[in-house]
Subunit: 322 residues, 2 copies
């Protein structure tokens, strides 16, 4: 059986989840794909941090060049987060003729065109299912099974933290600040929640969705973005009284060649499929000219759901080895 | 640009939808895939039937051999419905080294193992996204993006006719017979509704889902199946009073190697994601060991949604031409 040699850049939550899936489900993957996944190196910059799983210590390195410039590695999986050095590492890997899989929405949204063109020039695959809506296979669906459609509209609940906060405000009638503190205590929100609650994370994901759906790249900073930090208990109550729900929606549509896009809190009818998406779940609602309306729902974060998407991309590359 | 030569077996609703998509979105497909789709022959057995679209009359034939045994055709798309002659036509096409795409759940569920092994022996692709849940790309997701998962459970609203009837019974408090007549008048139910209302159609789809998810083939006739024809207005009312909904659910799960499967009406909590799936919409709810819970929602029937799925399969084969 052929082997796919994989290098992991980053060993945090997503890196740990990916490692666990490739290890625990190795036999299953070999049976389904006919190629064996082998992790040969892992970049772990901070050895003292508590890890989701323990990797074989012989695999660990602190030098990114051991992966990016390692002739034994075919697939580089970038899970560092942040724009740099992640973008540079991905570009260098492509120039060394390695396929790249990434979960890093911020880096991809910031440098989409450069990353795509560099992958094309070097004739390598560049896949990033995990960068939008975690485990939900929406990018793969858009670029494969739905590819005969002109996409008309995309609407998504793209951030689990804000959806969790809005759900708790709605169900328990509590004010924003109190729910945020509780979410931070439970690990659903970060100590600095700005990127989530101000819609920046959702804008990164919307930028990637637009690029794939409409072949139209808009930088996240050019997407009109309003977060949820100004939503009050009174807003929530007023929505409930009209049988509506407030959701943070990233949306983009095209009509007669004109694009319309934003991230903002939206009042949805309770009967809208996105209105029923609660807690930390994500969902993407897509309209294609032929298929009509579709919705994809699932976990938008977490080591294993996100790792599932990363591994889907790795397997898609491995299939071509045969 | 390379050309993919396509033969259509059947020119009813799904055939017409597929023809329309490959014609209307031809430029889009060429741009995205880099290969041009060309329909070279269409089997149309009844020339007098009213058609969704008019095809170039030069393409039409009444002789299936003009497609199955045509050296100019690479991809045969089977959209005849029914077990025979569809199964024989697919097998013969494979033996003539043609890739096969099918929308025909009855034929695939009845002859799954023979069709899969014949495709493998002849080293051709056999894809059938449209056979389950119409336009919803659930089979492609399971066999691609989610492939690193052990699937644990599948639950689906797999039949639009019965979901439409149950929705109207719930929303309007009307008895089964009255709603069925109205559905027949509106074209949502067939003159002989048996296959839909008795769960036979859903059992065909569940058989295909199980084969892909668990690598476990169970003939549709071996799936315990109960339809909706005995559901009364009183049942619906009693469910509503408990804040539950009655849905016709095809479900399959595996635990410690033991499989459990059925098609039957199920009482779902109103908060379950499948409970909000109304009217003619379909949805499939999947649990994977790594990704957790996912739901896919959309139109399970209709010429264009089903044609979108057929075309997704055709494009997936075309991608390999490059």
């Amino acid at each position: 059986m052929k082997t796919a040699n994989i290098g992991l850049l980053g060993f945090g939550n997503v890196g740990g989840g990916t490692y666990k899936i490739l290890t625990d489900n190795k036999k299953l993957i070999e049976n389904r794909i006919g190629v064996s996944p082998k992790i040969v190196k892992i970049l772990q910059r901070n050895r003292n941090k508590k890890r989701l799983v323990d990797a074989n210590p012989n695999l660990l390195t602190e030098d990114p060049d051991d992966i990016i410039n390692n002739p034994d590695i075919d697939i580089v999986v970038e899970m560092l987060g942040g724009i740099e050095p992640a973008t540079s590492f991905m570009l260098q890997s492509m120039k060394h003729k390695k396929h790249v899989v990434s979960a890093n929405k911020a880096a991809i949204a910031a440098n989409y065109e450069l990353l795509m063109s560099t992958a094309k020039e070097n004739n390598v695959e560049f896949l990033f299912e995990a960068s939008v809506a975690g485990g939900i296979p929406v990018l793969t669906a858009m670029t494969n099974a739905l590819e005969a459609n002109n996409f008309v509209e995309i609407m998504g609940i793209l951030n689990g933290t804000t959806n969790y906060i809005l759900t708790k405000m709605t169900e328990e009638g509590l004010p924003y600040e109190e729910v945020l503190k509780d979410a931070q205590a439970k690990g659903f929100a970060e100590a600095d929640p700005t990127a989530d609650v101000e819609g920046i994370d959702a804008a990164n994901k919307l930028s990637i969705l637009m690029a794939l759906a409409f072949n139209k790249y808009v930088a996240p900073s050019d997407i009109p973005t309003t977060g949820i930090s100004k939503i009050t208990s009174e807003d929530i109550k007023a929505a409930s009284e009209q049988n509506k729900k407030i959701k943070l929606i990233g949306s983009a549509s095209v009509k007669n060649g004109k694009f319309d896009y934003s991230v903002k809190p939206v009042l949805l009818d309770a009967s809208h499929p996105l209105a029923g998406v609660s807690n930390e779940f994500n969902a993407v609602y897509i309209t294609g000219d032929m298929v009509g309306e579709l919705m994809f729902y699932g976990k938008g974060a977490g080591p294993l759901p996100t790792g599932s998407a990363v591994c889907g991309d790795i397997l898609s590359i491995m299939k071509k080895y045969k």
